[in-house]
Amino acid sequence: MKKLLILGAGTAGTMAANRLSRLLDASEWQITIVDQHETHYYQPGYLFIPFGVYGKNDVIKPKRDFMPNGVHLVMSAIEAIEAEQNRVRLANGQTLGYDFLIIATGADIYPKQTPGLGEDEWGKSIQTFYSFEGAVALHEHLKHWPGGRLVLNVVENPIKCPVAPLEFLMLADWFFSEKGMRDKVELIYATPLPGAFTKPKASKMLGHLLTEKGIQVVPEFMIERVDPEAKKIVAYDEQEVSYDLLVSVPLNMGAEVVGKAGLGDELNFVPVDKHTFLSTRFANVFALGDAAAVPASKAGSVAHFAVETFGENFVRYTEGQALKPVFDGHANCFIESGFGKGLLIDFNYDTEPLPGRYPMPGVGPFTLLEESEANHWGKLMFKWMYWHILLKGKELPLPAQMSMVGKWSK
């Protein structure tokens, strides 16, 4: 029996287990997947929890429900990856050997990496929606928040779902308007990037949105520390922004176990070929999803397209053939813009988000880079698709590689 070991049963690991269990011959392959938590979290739903659009139960389900028959699920923390020896040690004392390894341990937030951030005020005047607990706590906090300066700060890129901070602010604009207190709230976006939108077409099409919604942007803000007493964030260039409520997207990093194994870059993400996901160091190690250091967005939709192209390529590779450069960095994201509207962006490694229409059999077309109600429903539909189609590794009626159909490039 050949052994395939998958580390992490989140979005990417679960999709890979499902897809590969269908593609690989069960009489020849033993597939094992390891995760530390019983619960699967629908992370895109964290965005909606603070505003009471989703509750806890919308975003959690047992991991086991998504595991195909024949795949062996082990619940334990992963303690060490010993790639030279082709084995992994678990906290429960087990050691698992493998012929092929897929690292899908995702990315997590590290508030302690920024002085003053993850300390006494964490969970009080400093909040986040980038974790389940954080999103739930922020919901409680907003219920009775009297208003003031709400500053959203992204500590450093890359982050999971790079558009989520903008969505949060646009939803906040809607939320406080509905509550009749928009005039009591200032919305400020302090980002290390040169602007809210950096790609030419998106800046042109979407730049007006934030002005219209009264969201102020503080660009090139590289946070050095938080002063929780004085309630201000301080940048390396001494710029300061004061807040009443700081909503932070802390530093995102890959799993520590990846770093300890010497398999990670400076943020514990695994360097891999951006078209095949093969480790640059080991010929039998791959990384999928947020764990991979590729210049694609860290998003569930990217993981889906990645796994779809990866499946057959992996099978070919195990049969002694060369990997094909099949993944093009395709990302497809609905962006919630508040007041029942949304946007859609579709892009890849080489093509920036473009305006036009996105054809989708049955439900589309959706407008690209332009607000519409259909896009809002697309965003809400994404939750259903995630639980029922994506996680189970089923195919969407969409091509995995980006298509130019409907897009205007001029």
């Binding site: 040169p194 939108f197 790609k199």
Partner: protein
């Protein structure tokens, strides 16, 4: 897209002043662009960073992030802000003839 002549060489440059073809870059261009960015005297530390960015971009195809630069060069983020004030990653990318560090939209 337009072209510009710097340090006696005509190079391709976008509206924001970033060179779009890294192979057109020369050290003389770097010195000239640095002057325009308020850095008339590039010292050995500046060059160490520029050289790292050039070689890193050759293998990765993009400008390195500030964290990538500090990890590789051993300089602290504070030192990077002293060397290339106000947005070091962006400034050094410009001087090194590389693209602007970008987000997704």
């Amino acid at each position: 897209m337009s072209t510009r002549t710097i340090a006696g060489k005509t190079v391709q440059m976008n509206d924001e002043g970033f060179m779009t073809n890294p192979s057109e870059w020369t050290r003389e261009i770097a010195a000239e662009v640095a002057k325009e960015e308020g850095l008339p005297d590039l010292n050995t530390s500046h060059w160490k960073v520029i050289e790292f960015c050039r070689s890193d971009a050759t293998s990765s195809g993009k400008s390195p992030t500030l964290r990538r630069i500090t990890t590789a060069t051993g300089l602290s983020t504070k030192e990077m802000f002293a060397l290339f004030p106000k947005g070091p990653a962006k400034k050094v990318a410009k001087i090194s003839g590389l693209g602007k560090p970008e987000g997704c939209v």
